[in-house]
Symmetry: C2
Subunit: 156 residues, 2 copies
Amino acid sequence: MIVRPPTAADRGAVLEALDSCGAFSAFEVEVAIGMFNEGLAGDYTLLGVEVGGALRGYACIGHASLTERSWYLYWICVHPAFQGRGVGQALQAAVEDFVRRNGGDKLVLETSARAQYGRSRHFYETAGFAVQGRIVGFYKRDEDCIVYCKALADLE
Amino acid sequence: MIVRPPTAADRGAVLEALDSCGAFSAFEVEVAIGMFNEGLAGDYTLLGVEVGGALRGYACIGHASLTERSWYLYWICVHPAFQGRGVGQALQAAVEDFVRRNGGDKLVLETSARAQYGRSRHFYETAGFAVQGRIVGFYKRDEDCIVYCKALADLE
């Protein structure tokens, strides 16, 4: 398992991971790929995990403007065939390491309360994220937004 | 009192309102003016209120991507010499009208829990916003973020 920054050559693998993981609608995949492209252009930070010669997971993060030390975790996705092998944990550790080394001390993410995201929410909660808010009817009339946050330990 | 879209000619008046209202740091004013410029370029929606021949208040809003009908209220500011005269209410009414006419049914905003924002939070709460979350230490170690939301009434 190799943690490395994704490149334009990984776009196909990222699209496959997003498409096949079952959590995202076609529109969400489109938005995620748009942000992946913006990440390649330097607007966001991208981190990836390669297994068996191909990128199987990636995360897209960015400093939250107006904050001193908070970062958003915009997207994190692992190809379903490679879930349950520690790829997500490696990615999450790489994200936290990057954020701390860049002066951050907090990760914030927004996710849907819908059923398909149950596995994602379980991942976040296991990774140490705690619910900080719930915006009722945010995504759709019957689909709330959950705001998660994780305070990062200081660098040794 | 005239409600109208701001133009590039209003940039000075907007800067004066942001600078003098006392709620925003120099960096926040810089971010707000940056978003005003992006609003003029079409990336956000800007609404303004003119009193006595000059723009005395403005709001910057935008559709929340990934949502069906939620909009962010990014900035709303009234020149302090023109507060308490209904400018803020006129602006808020214009924002809600615009959002509903464009298919929105929800306004979300994030604001600081710090003391200087007390008047702003009072304004939001009077306008019908309710607290949906609090991200501890979001802006700074000792400065939380409050997430407010207002469900908009259906168009008649």
